[in-house]
């Protein structure tokens, strides 16, 4: 051991008959961001909660920073930070009270704890909200105080469970900046997300998990290569021309084009972006009027479709367990 910040073998957890985590093997190197990507109910939160010693695995082994999560739970707890839906702060207390509470619990003296709380609030742009109850914070501020709360003692490793779910783009960018800042200072970050975009932006390596199992692992480039370049979406002026357009696109792109729910729209997966221009030109030449077209990045759905053959369906209740 010692080579990896996190290493798991055959990690399992069931809730009744639901196999939330059904044998997860991870090897996360120290430093950088490791992304765990998957839909709701894939087992992301359950995995993180086991790694953060909040949940006892049914089977398998997990070591975090070289310590076993069951046998050396307290050693793990003193070295990691956790931020997520279930590891929040006390909404009745003010920002500064929350951080001071944690600082005192972690062994700071009253004076140094107050100083630490103030410094953290300043660094996270929350100085003005310091004396306001957290329940009055906006979504973005709330997420920032959650993360600040995990940094009272600078952790060697931080777990971020869906840190940007439900945030507006501006707040999301702020969280991303924080993550990058932590990585620059040498903290290892394990991040779960439902968004391919987020994993792409932040993570050096990504594990895609579904039904409690890792179904693919690699850098974002590797994963994308396995999925293809994305898809072309086209909207026509006249819906009755759709059949004709389908034929033209399929001819040029060499993949079947699929009609969308919108009667005037269709889309096709593409492997080679250069053919898109030719496909559009061909539509024009055939007298088919295109009112809109868009080249989409592969979505999580497409990753899933490619990797698993099924869509990333929504089963929210499992992850909440």
């Amino acid at each position: 051991m010692g080579k990896f910040a996190i290493e798991t073998r055959g990690l399992k957890k069931s809730f009744g008959t639901t196999h939330a985590v059904a044998g997860v093997d991870l090897a996360v190197s120290a430093g950088g961001v490791y992304g765990v990507l998957g839909p709701n109910g894939a087992g992301k939160t359950t995995t993180i909660r086991m790694l953060a010693t909040l949940l006892r695995p049914d089977a398998g082994e997990a070591q975090v920073l070289g310590y076993d999560v069951v046998r050396d739970a307290q050693a793990v707890r003193s070295r990691v930070g956790l931020t997520g839906q279930f590891a929040s702060v006390d909404e009745d207390l003010t920002g500064v009270e929350n951080l001071l509470l944690l600082a005192r619990l972690l062994g700071y003296s009253r004076r140094r704890g107050r100083q630490r709380a103030t410094d953290l609030l300043d660094a996270f742009g929350l100085a003005e909200a310091a004396d306001r109850q957290v329940k009055k914070y906006s979504g973005g501020m709330h997420r920032r105080i959650d993360i600040a709360a995990s940094l009272v003692v600078t952790p060697e490793l931080i777990f971020l469970d869906e840190p940007t779910t439900g945030l507006d783009p501006r707040s999301r960018n702020q969280v991303w900046e924080i993550v990058r800042g932590m990585v620059a200072e040498g903290t290892t970050v394990l991040l779960t997300t439902q968004y391919l975009d987020e994993a792409d932006q932040l993570a050096d390596r990504i594990a895609v998990i579904d039904h409690g199992k890792v179904i693919a692992e690699g850098s974002s480039g590797e994963l994308k290569a396995s999925v293809g370049a994305g898809s072309l979406h086209v909207r026509l002026r006249a819906p009755e021309q759709r059949a004709e357009a389908e034929r033209v696109l399929a001819g040029v792109l060499e993949v079947p084009a699929e009609p969308s729910a919108d009667p005037a729209a269709l889309s096709a997966r593409i492997s080679d972006p250069e053919r898109v221009a030719r496909a559009l030109a061909e539509l024009f030449r055939s007298g088919i009027d295109v009112t809109e077209f868009a080249l989409g990045q592969p979505s999580l759905d497409e990753v899933f479709l490619t990797l698993t053959g099924h869509a990333a369906e929504e089963t929210p209740e499992e992850d909440a367990a």
């Binding site: 707890r77 207390l93 509470l101 972690l106 062994g107 410094d119 742009g125 100085a127």
Partner: protein, 281 residues
């Protein structure tokens, strides 16, 4: 609205500030169980400061009960309300206190729902300290409740023959018992899913526990089987002790009973609570 304006006004997260704060983080040695429990107790007090509404139960319950039962039963049971008050007030003090211990479970369950629970569980502190701390904070609430009952009693004409010493001693014993009984509610709050169900089940336990006792009437007129129940109910012994101390006698045997049942409550429900706490999903 407030939050939005403040957010716009607040400085963005700067890389430099973040860097310095990450580098500055020290790693102090872990504090001991007493300090962490007291710190969690401080949190409970802060919550009272921010949400004073939660004192409604410790103020309203006791006032309501004292007035209601004194004037409802006084004439019929003891010939006069003054007479009855001397008997009832120590009992009401017990009932009010025991009733407001229920809030412990409801508060803990709310913590679990709200998400601060996992944060506490992920800290490298003595494991029972969040629970012990919450119960220490509750002692403040119980003290407030007791003070209200006793003050109201004195105003209505309650005259404790045991004097201030008797009153204080009986309250101390009552706090000890309440602290121990609270572990039953912490256990329930880790088993049941919502604060509402915790409240419901607690009520179901609480009503027979407080009414089938000697708080309101002398058990002599009850049927034999019920007297038997009253006799084993720890609340009966607690009420006897509080009554005795307040009126100047020291029922040593009964005090022993109360202490033994207090220890038993913690010995049984404490470990169960901690197992549930450790394995909480």
């Amino acid at each position: 609205m407030n939050a939005t304006t403040a957010e716009q006004a607040s400085a963005p997260v700067t890389e430099d500030a973040l860097r310095s704060v990450l580098l500055a983080g020290e790693r102090p040695s872990s504090p001991g169980p007493v300090l962490t429990s007291l710190t969690f107790g401080w949190r409970a007090l802060l919550k009272i400061k921010h949400v004073p509404e939660q004192l409604v139960d410790v103020t309203m319950f006791p006032i309501m009960f004292t007035l209601m039962f004194t004037y409802l039963f006084g004439g019929a049971l003891a010939g006069s309300t003054q007479e009855y008050l001397q008997f009832l007030l120590p009992g009401i003090l017990v009932q009010a206190n025991v009733m407001i211990t229920m809030n412990t479970g409801i508060t803990l369950n709310t913590d679990i729902q709200k998400g601060v629970f996992d944060r506490f569980r992920s800290l490298p502190v003595w494991r029972p300290s969040p629970l012990v701390g919450a119960l220490l904070g509750d002692l403040v609430r119980y003290s407030i409740g007791s003070a209200i009952v006793i003050t109201l009693g004195l105003v209505l004409g309650f005259r404790p023959e045991g004097g201030a010493v008797g009153v204080v001693l009986s309250v101390v014993l009552l706090l000890v018992f309440s602290f121990c009984l609270s572990w039953l509610w912490t256990m329930l709050s880790l088993i049941l899913r919502t604060p509402n169900s915790v409240a419901g089940v607690s009520m179901m336990v609480m009503f027979p526990l407080t009414f089938v006792s000697n708080i309101f009437v002398d058990p002599k007129t009850m049927p034999g089987w019920m007297q038997a129940v009253v006799e084993v109910n720890p609340i009966t012994h607690l009420a006897t002790v509080v009554r005795g101390l307040m009126h100047g006698s020291v029922p040593a045997g009964e005090i022993g009973w109360v202490l033994v049942s207090s220890v038993l409550l913690v010995a049984v429900f404490g470990p169960i609570t901690m197992v549930l706490y450790r394995n909480k999903k």
